[in-house]
Symmetry: C2
Subunit: 117 residues, 2 copies
DNA sequence: TGATCATGCTTCGAAAATCGAAGCACAAAG
DNA sequence: CTTTGTGCTTCGATTTTCGAAGCATGATCA
């Protein structure tokens, strides 16, 4: 498993510990944003998350769960699965503009289809 | 090199082609967000980008440049290096909330320092 | 001319991350 | 006892990333 990521200490790709660099490191790992995104509506269990993410590897899902938990973004739910923490939920608001942007990007790609294939 | 990513067609981890999934795929690759972030203030050349990203691998930088170019987010500058396209610049606005969130996360991690490695 | 320097790559073997099928321990239900 | 479902864990195979080295080109200097 890759080492844990927290703001304020060196991360992959930056020795400054600048918060946004830590975010880039943590969120720039395969499935990380996707997992958080799937938790936006409530707790999701291990196997269900795997299914939602098109059958992602269980070993990677375990790594992501642990990393995101160590980072304080998710926690084991009261009853079942994992859920977003307070700071994790606040990330939702930060990712929403990304969704809006993605739709814009899609529209732009429609208009400018060179290299489709 | 991984295959190119565009909204509206299947990507790693999703067959729906939903725009945000394509964004997760493209931006969830190592250095992708960082490279875009480094371009926020203007064009950056190959070797300078490598230096800014703490000496990232040249082969990966080449892949990221090509992928982001194929996705329409960056383009070769008039004079030098690569620069953000219109849609690429609009991504800046979508990433700014992420930066703000990262600062919040950092503050939260200060307050809740358990597991500080 | 030709030597030096910087840039934008390209190559390729090694290391790390990810995949994916299989299996394990446990609990609840039948 | 068997079955079903869950949350993992293991481990060999594949993919991605790393990183040092090299190459081609153009500008500058001698």
């Amino acid at each position: 498993m890759p080492r844990s990521v927290k703001p304020g200490r060196p991360v992959r790709g930056s020795r400054t510990g600048r918060p946004v660099m830590a975010a880039f490191d943590l969120l720039g790992r395969r499935w990380a944003m996707r997992v958080l995104w799937e938790l936006r509506t409530g707790p999701v269990g291990f196997r269900e998350m795997q299914a939602r993410c098109d059958g992602m590897s269980s070993s990677v899902l375990r790594d992501r769960f642990r990393e995101l938990e160590a980072a304080g973004l998710i926690a084991r739910g009261e009853q079942d699965g994992y859920e977003l923490t307070g700071i994790g939920r606040s990330l939702r608001g930060a990712v929403e503009p990304l969704e809006a942007w993605a739709r814009l990007w899609a529209a732009e790609a429609e208009r400018r289809p060179k290299g489709r294939g």
